[in-house]
Amino acid sequence: MSEAVSDIAVEQAEGARLRFKKRAVDRLIDVVLFLFSILMILPLIFLVSNAFKTPQEMLAWPPTVIPANPTLDNFAAVLGQTPLLQWIANSLMFAGLSTVAILATSAIAGYILGKFQYKTLTVIFALFLATAIVPFEVYMIPLYFQAQSLGILNSTWGLLLGYLVMSFGIFLIRQNVIHSIPDELLEAARIDGAGELWIFWRIVLPLLRGALGALGVLAFFQAWTAFAWPMIVTTTRESYTIEVGLALFQTGFTVDLGRLSAASAAVLVPSVTLFILLRRNFVQGIASTGLKE
């Protein structure tokens, strides 16, 4: 009798010990992940903090996270030396138009390729797939000469030429159309006498809202962070995107790290905020790359 009781006691103690161990391990993992997460964003935190530092404080060791004498001199200097706001406006315009173009082409092409079975379409889809493998860097030089012959270098249109379509966008929408829009729904509408255009506009598009939202965020960030193409298409200071402007600004003779940090922070803070707000959309879009065969 007493033996059985002590057995149970032992088991309970053992259970409690295991639970305690598991909790301790979880705490440890939390600590590791927490430190790692901080480490990942630390360069960006310092960048923002450096933007407000005086040249003397920049040299301090250990580097301070919160500046002792915060100053806006760096920002004032940058705004005086560069058309920073113009660059931001250029980037916004470029990224906005690119998003619109990609959403429009992906929605229509994705729907057609997902719901209409014709041999011609299979061939077209294969063509889209094949070009998707080729990195942009491979064909950007001929594309540059096309932009030149159209006379749209140094303009939003020239930038846009490289970012009108996105193969991945078409695949994403096609997948969504196949999985989330039942054929019966479209057939029922057709029997009721609805036109194809009406069906696309009134039935298909509303059902694709989530997928298009995710794609839109991806497309916007893709254009906003583009580098190589804007670098070759824009050659006048007024037409730079923010990425190109900053990259070339930092090669200047008289530039110090404080001013560079200020310019960078001015770009970084809004885009990180936007990302955190749209995180769900973004993750959904990225996570659906390649995993669904």
Binding site: S37, P43, A109, I141, V165, M231, F253, L257
Partner: protein
């Protein structure tokens, strides 16, 4: 009649996208192939067909060899750092999915992947800076001599790898987390009943089962590694923009040949080499995936 109408609608609807695709993707791709076989210089009027002469010249081109070597080292360097680290971090985040901080972990690991590259590179430039960078100051605590990180030909490649890995990690972690979520829970419970520890089930269950994802992430990481340009441009051009110190990578060499030396045909042949590398990597991925599919 109705069927015919539907066909016409489909064709009319796909036409604009197809036309844009043809103009901004298919035509320039074909043009790259065509130019690579021509002596196509901006300055000269004659642009004769020269067969594979551009490629022959590439073989002996010192700068191209340097670019190819650097790019390969960077691509594989990023791969070697990113994949194992991403797998472990993703496993830990997945393990702590219910933690209050799970969102914070995911977001902070992913932020470097979405921020604009140039501002982010500025942050790293400061870290690596020889005179006022915290990295040298930190290493100084351990008695390590300050290094000229961004000027030394070897160390500057290391810096590019660090920056690229920092950026690539978030994407890989995200894909791995999706992968972990798709693994069958019952298998892990069975392993636990058999007395397997967490690290053991990670090693013997997760790693083998995540192989297709590892393959996918590896190819994506390698392909983007071979296309590295902005990172090398920003990080390794010093404040005075001194030439010659830059980490020469394929895309940089290609753009220089095209826009500084006006040798567009020659640059196109470099682009074709880049394309060939990417195609081989993609082919390897598909072959391995198919083999797997055939076996299981």
């Amino acid at each position: 009649m109705l069927k015919r109408k539907r066909w016409i609608f489909a064709m009319l609807a796909i036409l604009p996208t197809l036309a844009i695709f043809a103009y901004v993707r298919m035509y320039p791709i074909a043009d790259t192939l065509r130019l690579s076989l021509h002596k196509w210089d901006i300055l000269s009027k004659k642009k004769p067909f020269i067969g594979l002469a551009n490629f022959q010249e590439l073989m002996g081109d010192r700068l191209f060899q340097e670019a190819l070597l650097n790019t390969t080292i960077i691509a594989f360097g990023v791969l070697i750092i990113t994949i194992p680290l991403a797998m472990v971090i993703a496993a830990l985040i997945f393990h702590r999915t219910r933690s209050r901080f799970a969102g914070f972990y995911e977001t902070s690991v992913f932020i470097p992947h979405v921020v604009s590259l140039v501002p982010a590179a500025m942050a790293w430039k400061w870290i690596f800076d020889a005179r006022l960078g915290p990295l040298n100051a930190f290493l100084g605590l351990f008695g390590i001599q300050p290094q000229a990180w961004l000027f030394d030909p070897v160390l500057s490649v290391v810096c590019v790898i660090v920056l690229c890995s920092w950026q690539a990690l978030g994407y890989a972690v995200l894909i791995y987390i999706v992968g972990f979520k798709s693994l069958p829970v019952s298998l892990y419970e069975a392993a636990k009943l058999d007395g397997a520890s967490g690290p053991q089930s990670f090693w013997y269950l997760s790693i083998p089962m995540l192989k297709p994802i590892t393959l996918y992430v590896s190819v994506v990481t390698l392909v983007s590694g071979f296309n590295v340009y902005a990172q090398a441009f920003v990080l390794a051009s010093d404040a005075q923009g001194a030439p010659g110190r830059q980490v020469r990578v394929l895309v940089l060499d290609m753009l220089e040949n095209s826009f500084r030396n006006y040798r567009v045909g020659y640059a196109a042949s470099e682009a074709v080499v880049l394309l060939a590398i990417v195609l081989v990597l993609t082919l390897v991925q598909f072959t391995l995936l198919r083999e797997r599919g055939a076996r299981s």
